[in-house]
Symmetry: C2
Subunit: 258 residues, 2 copies
């Protein structure tokens, strides 16, 4: 089973690119972030015509997450991250696909630092930590994937020194990621390729893609029982060069015998 994550940065503006990529790669499960569309403006019809069912949590202007599945029975578990009833932002979607739990997340960016937005990111990551602990304790197969807005290590960004004060790279944020790993989760892509440079995001400005000025911020966290099934993964880097592409790159893993 091929599972992908793709921060589309506007699902309607991105529709031609998204459909072309789906047609070429045909992943069974796709987690999307930054829909930037209200619930009623998600392009359900076009997605259906491409052969995918969709579950989504929209929001006007910002955020928004979705999970697309191809011929798979999908059950919604929750559409919000527990821990703060007053949180209005659409950043979390948890579904069950047969015995596999798939969690699609869009972690707050958190810039500028310091500030309210950074505080919100840290609180959101605390709530994610609690929810991840519950999920991994279940002993069932779970994937948490999406745009984490976290650069896990110095090896995951083209010039770490430029990001010392950035909300994607500050120690507290990297520690939050390590805490998840300490719970027992595995960073899927890094597990497959321990020493490779892997970038999932290239800024729109200053020709970042052409300069290979990227970072790895979209991740797959796998619960232990999934590791034996993990055989390959990667980034569809060329999509970043397409006309009207997102600033993120589609990222995927393949699980065998699942």
């Amino acid at each position: 089973m091929k599972i992908a994550t793709y921060n589309v940065n506007g699902v309607n503006g991105r529709l031609p690119v998204l459909l072309k990529w789906l047609e070429e790669e045909k992943p069974e499960v796709v987690c999307l972030q930054e829909l930037k569309a209200p619930q009623e403006k998600f392009p359900e019809q076009e997605i259906l015509e491409a052969g995918y069912q969709a579950i989504w949590v929209g929001q006007k202007s910002w955020n928004g997450v979705a999970i697309l599945t191809k011929d798979l029975n999908t059950e919604v578990i929750r559409t919000a991250l527990p821990g703060d009833e007053s949180d209005e932002q659409s950043r979390y979607l948890e579904v069950k696909i047969s015995d596999l739990t798939v969690v699609c997340i869009y972690v707050p960016n958190g810039n500028p630092t310091p500030g309210e937005k950074y505080d919100y990111k840290l609180k959101w990551l605390e709530r994610l930590d609690a929810q991840a602990e519950l999920l991994i304790s279940s002993g069932k197969p779970v994937i948490i994937t999406g745009d984490f807005n976290i650069i896990p290590t110095e090896s995951d960004v083209y010039k770490p020194e430029k990001y010392i004060k950035d909300a994607l790279f500050l120690p507290e944020v990297r520690t939050a990621f390590q805490n998840l790993i300490a719970q027992g989760w595995t960073d899927g892509l890094r597990h497959l390729y321990p020493a490779e440079t892997i970038y999932t995001f290239y800024d729109y400005f200053r020709k970042a893609y052409e300069r290979n000025a990227g970072m790895r911020i979209d991740h797959f966290l796998l619960s232990p029982e999934l590791i034996p099934h993990l055989k390959t993964g990667g980034v569809d880097k060329e999509v970043r060069g397409w006309e009207k592409s997102s600033d993120h790159v589609p990222t995927w893993i393949e699980l065998e015998n699942l």
Copy 2:
């Protein structure tokens, strides 16, 4: 010689449509209105590659006029309508192509009425009247063409009763047009087709094109010596049905032996 006028409603947004139409119709002279582009953002390169030289008067956000010519020596005569030095709007361009003077105009819309904008339209038309008088008195061949924002008669709009208080149809404005005719100018298309319904504009709203709810507001005024050369003309109505079309229709005349 085929001479066309086309209010493009944004020359950059309209570029694919404009280039396709130029490729199909190949007019020797094209007057454009509503460039909606500052001087430095006119797509000169793409127009050159399509085989046209261009002279243009840009303006940020609104207005803007241009004259494109195919393999013809073109000399700029003036880039503003005389009579008000303080007028900042780019609505007038006068050039000489061999012995023919071509004037491209974008008359102010003037709505709502009454109001400042209507007053500005009337004053602009007075200045145009003075300039037209000068031009016709020269005894040389002159064409004044463009978006006049004037519906000359009841026969030039689908439902005249809807436009009684409209700045495009108020008596003062129609009189301004008749005054030009009284100077000796000929309304080229009406001269060719005295009894036909000819529309050059269909609103974007309420499916005006599908309902044939149009009006004739783009005109060719010809000085007397040109009349013997005028053999045919028309509107490229189908262009209005193209993807991402302007609300105006390209309109043209053909002058023989010129």
